[in-house]
Symmetry: C2
Subunit: 196 residues, 2 copies
């Protein structure tokens, strides 16, 4: 006789502003990362968590979603991700500009960035790194390949679980143009493209 255990998954996660996050099909993760937004990478280790702003990332495959990213080995996040083999990619919109820049300007070795910048850590379902409540999308990731880590600081991540605030159809993401200038996502156009 086989006993079927049904694991009830939390499909909705509250946000502070009252909106709800829902589970996003993994096949749709690329739609959020491909436009190239600044993301906040969260990681954890030894009972502490850290947050880092990151722009050097790209999709590598659709499903399961694979993401390549560069994390400088001078960053605290580098050690945490390397040791735990996990992280969360959180996508902020322009309302979080001050918090995003704050995270980029400080080091997790000296500052609790969650407390300092008023970001709320939420437990993940498949990784120990926390999700950032205030970000409209959160992707729980594990490290699946480190072949380019020593030479280029490149991690290859697989997104295991994705969350999104479905009300954000046209998220005002930030896109780094260098040295403090950021392009804010503008209008959306639809073109007769057959590209996935």
């Amino acid at each position: 006789m086989t006993i079927h255990l049904i694991r009830l998954e939390p499909v909705e996660r509250n946000r502070k502003d009252g909106t709800m996050k829902k589970s996003l099909p993994l096949s749709k993760v690329y739609c959020q990362l491909e436009p190239g937004p600044v993301v906040l990478v969260t990681s954890a280790g030894k009972g502490k968590a850290d947050v880092m702003a990151m722009s050097w990332h790209m999709m590598i495959d659709f499903e399961p979603p694979l993401v390549g990213c560069v994390i400088s080995n001078r960053n605290h996040t580098f050690s945490l991700v390397k040791a735990s083999k996990e992280c969360v990619i959180n996508i902020p919109t322009v309302e979080l500009a001050a918090q995003m820049v704050g995270c980029g300007n400080t080091s997790g070795r000296r500052v609790d960035k969650f407390k300092t910048f008023g970001l709320t850590p939420v437990p993940g379902t498949l990784v120990k790194a926390p999700l950032i409540l205030e970000c409209y999308a959160n992707f729980e990731c594990k490290v699946v390949d480190t072949k380019l880590l020593a030479k280029y600081n490149v991690f290859i991540l697989e997104v295991l679980k994705a969350w999104i605030d479905p009300s954000k159809k046209n998220p005002r993401t930030m896109h780094h143009r260098g040295k403090g200038t950021f392009m804010v996502a503008g209008r959306t156009i639809t073109l007769p493209s057959r590209m996935k």
Copy 2:
């Protein structure tokens, strides 16, 4: 006795609309690619050239600028870049939306995309792949690492020479959100960031 040969480099390249392109310092290439625009990759081989739309790219290092990118091995461009170990990354603005989508919807095996979509090939200075005149930025690249090519179709490129239309301070680049929807670059904001 040493004879010093001075190579005069073409520092300006005409555009059809009368604006001029100038040489861009390699240390500034990341400012154009980090925001995540759709780019057009040009490549050449056996007397023919091809163009491909691409969104899966990221910066890997500042200087010399290293760029990681994914080119599907089903694309004609894949074979050309793999064989020639060269390509050009061209960045279009929204005025080139129809041409960009056309390049994405067709195969260079069957169609001369330059002719079909009215794009003008311009000779590069360090690579055989042509630059696209109509794009506001052009980066001449060589392939420097293929460790992840077999497994993920990831090329690592080094930008050898960069060109830009300096009048484009806030280029209206396109950012793919999947299945024919594109975000067009919006306003630019300046934040007190200490990030490079």
